[in-house]
């Protein structure tokens, strides 16, 4: 038994927590105590945490291989804690969301890259950032980034992935704006963050849709319930019809109003694509990545080339089970990728900033990965992720080494990164040159290097395979058959041609880059004015003449001009990562060299992850036979690109390109300014937001401040002005007003209140009317039928009794006189109802009070009794025996009926306007 498996069983693989936790500890220590710890301790902490994490990742990888060899499922899980529960759709159960980590071949490979390349870049940074005041801050961010990236990759569910997703976004923001003293850097950080937010929106939408459709957010749950995503939903028109469509001609309106359907998978896939496009810098959200080069170069290498930007590709691969259900979303992924590859490559052709070229190259290569994933070749796309991580990290670190060297001479971010100031660095920094050249060979597709194999694999798959529509291409919706999206015939060849064109341009601009940087003469002597010597420059008699406008303006270069510090090779901490990455860039292709060596290591390794995916992909029949012939376009692209660049920049010294630029100056300028996409966004989206803000300001100024505030203030001021008249400030006036109020109260209290209570016994026909007592009250009554007063004088009698015959009524008048001689009268109507058929009526007590509006409360309008049940408003106030026999066989009582059923209509009360005299 494998000792590792004993300590870490597959269902409780705590090593994952260690892998994730170590960089977090490093980030915490460096971030909180870094300033006091000193540079050495920070270095130790940062390197050891990532290094140990790397070792643990290797152990995990070995364990995965062991499980694979033992025919077990290569998937280890560490269960953290239940994080929260979210409600799914109304009839579904709650969806638990657990903070679980899991590792399988895909993520196992990713963590090797993250921690391995991460460690090398940490090592590199110890020298690159040596002189920076924010040394500890830098390493805290870098460790935090590694932590977040590991959470992203190892998270067992979308929400946990999202934590890492946001974490890397945050670290990216912090590191792009690392030198935040310059506004441009801070702005670039913000731009990256906001562009990523747009993508995150898509990811959140996808999560919501998955909760709705699948009722799960963890990978296994999503895979298990993926078939639920095939339910078509009407997505258009929203509501029943398009508003104002009736204004259009009938045919257009019918076309607009025709219902459109999309499966849940398509919606999820497109939302995920938006999220992935944000993180992986695809059209239309790629704009942040070139600006992200404002950060320190190791950051560009680690975050914006090797790891974070591949998170989108990782996400697509991870949810391949969802994507294969939707050819429409796959089509979008593939074409977004191909377009991005092509588009970014055109921009990279003309840039002069070494990091900008590499940045657009990264965007372009990410497009290749999306292209691969989009045609269903997930493992090919992931293979390119791997090789790209090696060669692009190497290129960026090499560029960093060059910039580091240039800083010896030129102190200025712009100038030290400008290729026009470089050239001939091969002599000064041989190690950097060799490793850079190795990475260059990989990216341009030099035969047998890693990039050659991975790029060729993607192009091959783009030509031969395409996703197949699920369920035979149609579904029944409401009894009608709805055609699902099918992959068009022209798509493979189009994608292939776009890919080859992008590869050609890649070869061209990368060759231009390496020629401009390392070959020819060093042009940096003349940049700093003080060293621009007046004496003549002799020719250096070099083999190559890499020139551009700059060099040609100068008469020549002489040894005497080389005053001041020279560019120099970097220390071993910087060159060692270069060597390792350069070597990997060359040989990593062996992992999956289908075409020439029939090596399928990576495909086999990833097979458990993508099993079931293959069934949804249609492969052309003769694809095996096409494998070798399809190498030719890739080789031709390499040859054309490199050869063209060599011819243009080495053999002809850049003359042809300059001539071309002069012939089409508008186009050149447009491409040089990155097709002015930033400006376009500025005009449209930012402009719209600005307009909204302007409107809000206007609204605030004129409506809120002007109308509301000023108007309210005016009203209050007017009221105040009116009230001020009453405010004489003389105390006696206030006292006088108080007296007036007291007099009013006194008047109120001196009014008598003629209130009476009736105790009615309908059965016996006895009624007792008692008047409410009061200070100094005297009463007189009129109980006779003619309504005459019993006496002329007021007396002390507060209660009268009278009896009535069945079905008769009597009007009783009461007059109350108080101590001041004021009198109030009240008239009451007593009525004895006919006995109810249903049985004896109960004795009732009815309060009669004067309501707020002067009417008597408790008044009952006489109305026919429907069937025994009497729904009077007084019903519930009457004290009635709880259970009454319902006459007529139990007709359902109307709403509001008295509890207990029928009640005789109580005969009480009549209006009485008898008020105070």
């Amino acid at each position: 038994m494998n000792p590792l498996a004993t300590v870490f069983p597959p269902n409780d693989f705590a090593l994952l927590a260690v892998i994730v936790g170590l960089p977090l500890v490093g980030a915490f220590v460096n971030g909180v105590f870094g300033k006091r710890l000193g540079k050495e301790a920070v270095t130790l902490m940062a390197l050891s945490s990532v290094g140990l994490s790397f070792l643990a990742s290797v152990a995990t990888f070995v364990a995965l291989r062991g499980a694979r060899a033992a025919e077990q499922a290569p998937r280890f899980v560490w269960q953290g804690w239940e994080w929260m529960r979210v409600s799914s759709r109304l009839d579904g159960p709650d969806v638990p969301i657990a903070f679980d980590l899991s590792v399988d071949p895909l993520s196992g490979t990713m963590i090797l890259v993250i921690t391995g390349v991460g460690f090398l870049i940490h090592l590199y940074s110890t020298k690159y950032m040596e002189a920076d005041a924010g040394y500890h801050r830098f390493f805290a961010y870098l460790n935090l980034f590694v932590f977040s990236m590991l959470v992203l990759v190892l998270g067992d569910s979308l929400p946990v992935l999202f934590v890492g997703w946001e974490g890397v976004g945050l670290c990216s923001y912090l590191l792009i704006g690392f030198w935040f003293h310059e506004d441009a850097n801070a702005a670039a950080g913000k731009k990256a963050f906001i562009a990523n937010r747009v993508g995150d929106f898509g990811l959140l939408v996808a999560m919501g849709l998955l909760v709705y459709h699948c009722g799960a957010l963890d990978w296994r749950g999503i895979d298990a319930a993926a078939h639920n995503l095939l339910v078509p939903k009407q997505v258009w028109p929203i509501g029943t019809h398009v508003p104002l469509a009736s204004l259009l001609p009938d045919s257009a309106a019918a076309w607009l109003n025709a219902p459109r359907y999309a499966t849940g998978a398509t919606m999820v896939g497109l939302a995920l694509l938006l999220g992935a496009a944000g993180k992986s810098a695809q059209i239309p959200l790629y704009v942040w990545l070139p600006d992200a080069m404002a950060g320190p170069t190791p950051v560009s290498a680690l975050i914006h080339a090797a790891t974070m930007v591949t998170a989108g590709v990782y996400l697509v691969c991870r949810l391949s089970g969802v994507f294969v259900l939707t050819p429409a979303a796959m089509f979008a992924v593939a074409f977004v990728g191909a377009l991005t590859a092509l588009f970014a490559a055109t921009i990279a052709l003309v840039q002069n900033d070494i990091k900008k070229v590499l940045a657009y190259s990264t965007v372009s290569q990410l497009g290749f990965m999306f292209l691969g994933a989009g045609v269903g070749a997930f493992s090919a796309g992931f293979f390119h992720v791997l090789t790209h991580a090696f060669f692009k990290a190497c290129l960026f670190l090499g560029a960093g080494s060059v910039i580091h060297a240039m800083h010896a001479r030129i102190h200025g971010t712009e100038a030290s990164q400008d290729m026009r100031n470089m050239g001939g660095l091969r002599k000064f920094m041989p190690v950097t040159f060799v490793t850079f050249a190795a990475a260059w060979a990989a990216i341009v597709g030099f035969p047998l290097t890693s990039g050659f194999f991975s790029k060729d694999e993607i192009l091959f798959k783009a030509f031969t395979s395409s996703p197949q529509a699920p369920l035979g291409g149609s579904m029944m919706v409401g009894g009608r058959s709805v055609e699902l999206f099918t992959w068009p015939e022209w798509a493979p060849i189009t994608l292939f041609v776009m890919g080859v064109a992008a590869a050609t341009m890649t070869a061209f601009y990368m060759t231009r880059l390496i020629v401009g940087t390392f070959l020819g003469d060093f042009r940096g002597w003349t940049v700093v004015p003080g060293w621009k010597a007046a004496h003549g420059h002799g020719d250096d008699a070099h083999d190559e003449h890499a020139h551009d406008e700059h060099a040609h303006d100068e008469p020549g270069h002489g040894a005497a001009g080389r005053e001041g510090p020279e560019p120099h090779e970097s220390p071993w901490q910087m060159t060692l990562p270069l060597v390792v990455l350069g070597a990997l860039a060359v040989v990593a292709g062996a992992l999956n060299a289908h075409a020439l060596f029939h090596s399928h290591l990576l495909d086999t390794w990833l097979e458990p992850v993508f099993q079931g995916v293959e069934k949804a992909i249609v492969v052309k029949e003769n694809s095996k036979a096409l494998e070798l012939p399809l190498l030719v376009p890739g080789l031709l692209a390499f040859a054309a690109g490199v050869g063209g660049a060599w011819w243009a920049y080495v053999a002809r010294g850049g003359e042809p390109m300059r001539a071309l630029a002069e012939r089409v100056p508008g186009l050149h300028q447009l491409v040089y300014e990155k097709w002015r996409i930033d400006e376009l966004y500025e005009e449209t989206f930012l402009g719209a937001v600005d307009a909204l803000a302007e409107f809000a300001v206007w609204f605030d100024k004129w409506v809120v401040d002007g109308l509301l505030a000023k108007l309210t203030a005016l009203l209050v001021a007017g009221g105040g002005a009116a009230l001020r008249l009453a405010q004489t400030g003389r105390t006696h006036a206030y006292a006088a007003l108080m007296v007036v109020g007291m007099a009013g109260l006194g008047w109120f209290f001196t009014a008598p209140h003629a209130q009476a209570k009736v105790e009615a016994n309908h059965d016996e026909g006895r009624y007792v009317v008692s008047a409410a007592p009061g200070l100094g009250y005297r009463y007189r009554w009129a109980t006779a039928e003619d309504g005459s007063w019993a006496s002329d004088e007021f007396g002390a009698q507060a209660k009268v009794e009278l009896s009535l015959e069945v079905g008769t009524s009597r009007t009783v008048k009461l007059a109350v006189e108080n101590a001041f001689g004021r009198v109030e009268e009240r008239t009451l109507l007593l009525e004895r109802p006919r006995p109810d058929r249903s049985g004896p009526g109960g004795a009732t007590t009815i309060e009669i009070n004067r309501g707020a509006d002067g009417r008597l409360e408790g008044q009952v309008a006489p109305r026919p009794i429907p069937s025994g049940a009497f729904p009077g408003p007084l019903g519930s106030a009457l004290r009635v025996p709880p259970s009454f026999p319902v006459p007529g066989g139990g007709m359902p009582a109307p709403r509001g009926a008295a509890p207990g059923g029928p009640v005789p209509a109580p005969g009480v009360a009549a209006p009485s306007p008898g008020g105070a005299r």
Binding site: R724, Q727, T728, G729, R730, T731, H732, A735, A736, V739
Partner: protein, 105 residues
């Protein structure tokens, strides 16, 4: 009228009269000194009523205790009130209550 002076209502009537006089004095006079004296009159009237009702009640001496506290509070009130009058006089040079109308502004 042998009960004259031994009936609650007589005392209450006297208290009412004195209270009314005090009240009118407070309202009519502008001299703050006299106004303060009027307040004292009213307090005394209330005290008289309290003591009279206490006598009517017979047992216990709650009314007298209450009156005792009223006297204590009245003493404090006079001290502060006269101090305020002095300060007011220093500020305005008069004891005319109508001058004290700063509250209006």
């Amino acid at each position: 009228m042998s009960a004259f002076g031994h009936v609650l209502e007589h005392y209450v009537l006297v208290a009412t009269l004195i209270f009314g006089i005090g009240c009118v004095g407070f309202l009519v006079r502008r001299n703050v000194l006299v106004q303060l004296m009027s307040i004292e009159l009213m307090l005394n009237a209330v005290n008289l009523a309290l003591v009279a009702y206490d006598r009517e009640q017979g047992a216990g001496s709650t009314g007298q205790t209450f009156a005792f506290f009223v006297i204590a509070v009245a003493a404090a009130e006079v001290a502060v009130g006269l101090a305020i009058i002095l300060a007011f006089y220093r500020l305005r040079g008069t004891v005319d209550g109508d001058v004290a109308d700063t509250l209006r502004h």
